[in-house]
């Protein structure tokens, strides 16, 4: 950042892209709607400008407008100008003229590296295609150039990757390939639309580091679009904060974080969860346990071969033990594929498992669906995507009432009263019960899901990435609601998340998972402030600080190769026994 800061500090900074009075309209059934209004900013050579804002702020629309990729015919630029350094006007250019600009002068990387690569073309072919399409080199030089590009983005075993297909690569590798494609023609400007949102935190740190390194090398100007203030703090030289299509505040990153001028920016920054900022939670008396999980194993059979026989197993969860007291929150953290969500599903008997799960002392394992039904009430789940976890074709009131009816807990006017009470309980007006899910915002939908989960008066709730899909300000309010409910009802929470800062806010205890096993567990302060296991340390070292004055040290390198949870039938997974290093703080050792 220091090199870039120098440039932005220099008076002679040369604008490479100027946006003036940009207004974008989108056609809706209700008529034209303005999604970006009178937006203006300049992008100076070599700097990183972040467009930051919550969903619906118009930041992605702005990026698409610059690329000439606004979805046609619904969206159009109503007024304003977008000009490059040499005076080239980008608005109103023909599709053919725009193609010459794309990739050669401005290129873009997207959020989903899987869906932005063509699944039936090898990586090499996709790189060569860009080079040849824009006449960057001759057909015979293309493979060598493609290889250079992959080396540039520090992809391991670059030669091998050229012949591979996108599905053979991990998410982080795919995003590296996307960056290589974007930089193939050496563009002046790179637009990155939420480039790391879909990635694990350690991979995010590596990709951000790569973008910075490439920027230093090539002098590329970066326009970064993100909702994550941690990423903003880490990457930006200057920030434009957007809200409802309008610019709220534009300032150099340090000024913005030190002294936000507008109320909205202040609010937004205040809502960002920060590791280490959360107050200590009161010590709980752990005399009894709502949830008691012992030696939980979930293994999925993998079929293959000529006869489609089971020839390997995916050890999703392997020998996991934990207990949660009433009113306590245990956070499960780990990277994608570590088995944390599978544990949540096993708690609700949604996947077959071995071992013992006791809720309120009642054994759940090995029960018939009929015997399970009354016990199942005691544990409920709140999902990540509140839109997907509600039935789109049933009114929300009916959906909250349904569990009460099915379990025979209420009927008639009592049912109506109970549903209205639940709605008020989660902070929604009771007269909204006749509406459909699509009439609510994401945060409201999550409240409906919470109301539905509470309908059965559960003792334990599994919250699987329940706030990950929400904007930070909404996220803070939903977390507050969950905390209130916990205090009043003495609920035990199993809080599954990949977001360390959120976990820091809500957890009493934290368990870190890797490859289906808990590698470290203890109180929040023990695990997050004094991590002992190498994996925990690496995970924590990758979390971006929402503070531009604090330089995050480089991510701790991974020890050894990435393991795989898939094992042949005759090869049991090695267990890593936990040893107590401090009272209540357990750390995995070497394989027994």
């Amino acid at each position: 950042m220091s090199a870039a800061a120098e440039i932005s500090g220099r008076e002679a900074s040369r604008p490479v892209l100027t946006v003036k009075g940009l207004t974008i309209q989108v056609a809706t059934p209700e008529g034209a709607k303005i999604v970006v209004e009178d937006l203006g900013f300049t992008l100076n050579h070599g700097e990183t400008l972040c467009l930051a804002g919550e969903s619906g702020s118009g930041k992605s629309m702005t990026a698409l407008a610059i690329m000439g990729l606004l979805p046609k015919p619904m969206a159009r630029i109503a007024s304003g100008s977008i000009t490059l350094a040499d005076g080239t006007e980008l608005t109103g250019r023909s599709e053919r003229a725009m193609r010459k600009i794309r990739a050669q002068r401005i290129s873009m990387i997207f959020q989903e590296p899987m869906s932005s690569l063509n699944p039936v073309m090898t990586i090499g072919k996709q790189l060569e295609e860009v080079l040849l399409e824009h006449g960057m080199c001759s057909r015979s030089e293309a493979p060598a150039r493609a290889l250079d590009l992959l080396r540039d983005v520090q992809l391991t075993e670059a030669e091998k990757r050229l012949a591979q297909y996108p599905h053979e690569l991990s998410g982080g590798m795919r995003q590296r390939v996307m960056i290589a494609i974007a930089l193939a023609c050496n563009p002046e400007i790179l637009i990155a639309d939420e480039p790391t949102t879909a990635l694990d935190v350690t991979v995010q740190a590596e990709v951000l580091e790569l973008i910075r390194a490439l920027q230093r090398e090539h002098g590329t100007t970066v326009l970064m679009i993100t909702h994550d203030m941690g990423v903003v703090a880490e990457m930006a030289d200057r920030v434009v904060v957007m809200r409802n299509g309008k610019q709220e505040e534009a300032a150099p990153v340090r000024e913005l974080f030190a002294a936000p001028k507008t109320a909205y920016a202040r609010e937004l920054l205040a809502a960002v969860p920060r590791i280490g900022a959360a107050p200590t939670r009161p010590e709980l008396e752990r005399t009894r346990h709502t949830v008691d999980v012992e030696d939980l194993c979930v293994r999925f059979p993998m079929r293959g071969g000529l006869l489609n026989r089971v020839n390997a197993r995916l050890h999703a969860v392997e020998g996991v033990n934990f207990r949660i007291a009433p009113g306590e929150t245990l956070a499960l953290v780990g990277e994608s594929g570590c088995g944390k969500s599978t544990i949540g599903k096993a708690m609700l008997s949604l996947v077959p498992y071995e071992g013992s799960i006791r809720i309120e002392g009642q054994q759940m394992a090995g029960l018939s669906p009929h015997a399970l039904k009354p016990i199942r009430r005691n544990v409920q789940m709140i999902f990540q995507d509140p839109g997907a976890s509600l039935d789109a074709r049933m009114t929300v009131g009916k959906q909250v009432a349904e569990p009460l009816v099915v379990h025979g807990l209420a009927s008639g006017s009592e049912l109506q009263d109970r549903v209205e009470w639940l709605f008020r309980r989660v902070g929604l007006p009771a007269d909204h019960i006749d509406r459909f899910p699509h009439e609510f915002s994401g945060g409201q939908r999550q409240r409906i899901c919470i109301a539905r989960a509470l309908a059965l008066r559960p003792k334990a709730i599994v919250a699987d990435e329940s706030v990950s899909a929400l904007d930070v300000s909404v996220q803070a309010r939903v977390l507050e609601l969950l905390r209130e409910l916990q205090e009043e009802e003495g609920l035990a929470y199993l809080f599954i998340s990949h977001d360390m800062a959120v976990i820091d806010q809500v957890a009493d205890r934290v368990a870190v998972m890797n490859l289906g096993q808990i590698v470290e567990s203890g109180s929040r302060d023990q695990v997050l402030r004094d991590p002992q296991h190498a994996y925990t340390r690496r995970l924590l070292s990758a979390v971006p600080f929402p503070d531009p004055t604090r330089q995050r040290p480089p991510v701790i390198a991974r020890e050894g190769p990435v393991g795989s949870p898939v094992r042949p039938l005759d090869d049991p997974a090695p267990r890593f026994p936990l040893a107590e290093v401090a009272p209540g703080h357990w750390v995995a050792g070497d394989a027994a």
Partner: protein
């Protein structure tokens, strides 16, 4: 804003239709045919099977706007009475395949494994034969007539619906709201029919409309081949079939029932397209 209505779309209906001329035209055509079918005895100027040897093969005139056929029967009256039969063919010919296919598709998609394999193999077997050949053989075995046609449709036509619904259910059952329903302790039939099916239905409801067109044309084709509606009953397909010998002398006998078939089919198609838009609203 307090609004207590079960159907969220209701308040916007009039404006919705006025903005979609296709929906209005399609619904209008269908409504027109339904009305003339209901009021056929009043609307039709003549008895559709009354023969008048003196007025054979007369071209369109004031007395006979659509002309008369080779038995001297009024073509307009026959087309009007034919609407009764043809609408019935479209309705019943779609209804049973739709009901059977929906249930089979839901069950096969939801349970998977053996049930799914069995039903999908049956689908494969039916698909292996050309549609019309299968229909004709079933009708021949059962004996000509409309009821045989309906039975044959029910036996063969359900496969499209089963496949459509099954594919939808397969996707929907992995979604969170289905998992949520399971975690709330709901029974399988409740999850299948209360939650998954309503979400899976949109595609097949649109298909019902285009299928109605196919069934209508099939019914006409079967009648044309002499295996469906028997003369002298007025049915558009039968009318076209009977008139083919006179096509060079009396074009009007084939043209008007043919136009009726095309117009009704067009109405169904427009309605199907409009319904596709309408049902996409929630998504």
């Amino acid at each position: 804003m307090i609004r207590r209505s079960a159907l969220s779309l209701a308040p916007t209906w009039p404006r919705y239709i006025s903005r979609r001329p296709m929906l209005a035209v399609g619904a209008g055509i269908l409504a027109f045919f339904v009305l003339i079918a209901i009021f056929a005895p009043i609307v039709a100027p003549f008895d559709p099977i009354l023969q008048d040897p003196k007025a054979r093969l007369q071209p369109p005139s004031f007395a006979h706007p659509f002309g008369t056929d080779n038995f001297g029967r009024d073509v307009l009256s026959r087309v009007i009475w034919g609407a009764r039969i043809d609408l019935q063919i479209a309705l019943i010919g779609v209804l049973f395949p739709f009901l059977i296919g929906t249930v089979i598709g839901t069950v096969a998609g939801f349970f998977g494994k053996t049930i799914d394999t069995v039903f999908m193999r049956i689908v494969d077997i039916i698909l292996a034969f050309p549609f019309l050949v299968l229909m004709l053989s079933i009708i021949t075995i059962l004996g000509p007539g409309l009821s045989s046609f309906y039975i044959a449709m029910a036996l063969v036509g359900w496969i499209s619906y089963a496949r459509l619904i099954r594919a939808q259910i397969l996707v929907l059952k992995t979604q969170d709201f289905s998992v949520a329903a399971e975690s709330l302790g709901f029974s399988r039939s409740r999850i299948m029919f209360r939650h998954l099916l309503p979400n899976a239905l949109a595609g097949s409801l649109v298909f019902v409309m285009s299928d109605a067109v196919l069934v209508l044309l099939n019914g006409a084709a079967i009648s044309y081949l002499g295996l469906g509606v028997q003369p002298p009953t007025a049915e558009w397909g039968v009318m076209v079939a009977e008139a083919q010998g006179f096509i060079t002398q009396a074009w009007w006998i084939t043209l008007f029932p043919g136009l009726a078939i095309v117009t009704l089919a067009f109405g169904f198609s427009l309605l199907g397209d409009a319904m596709g838009d309408l049902l996409g609203v929630h998504e």
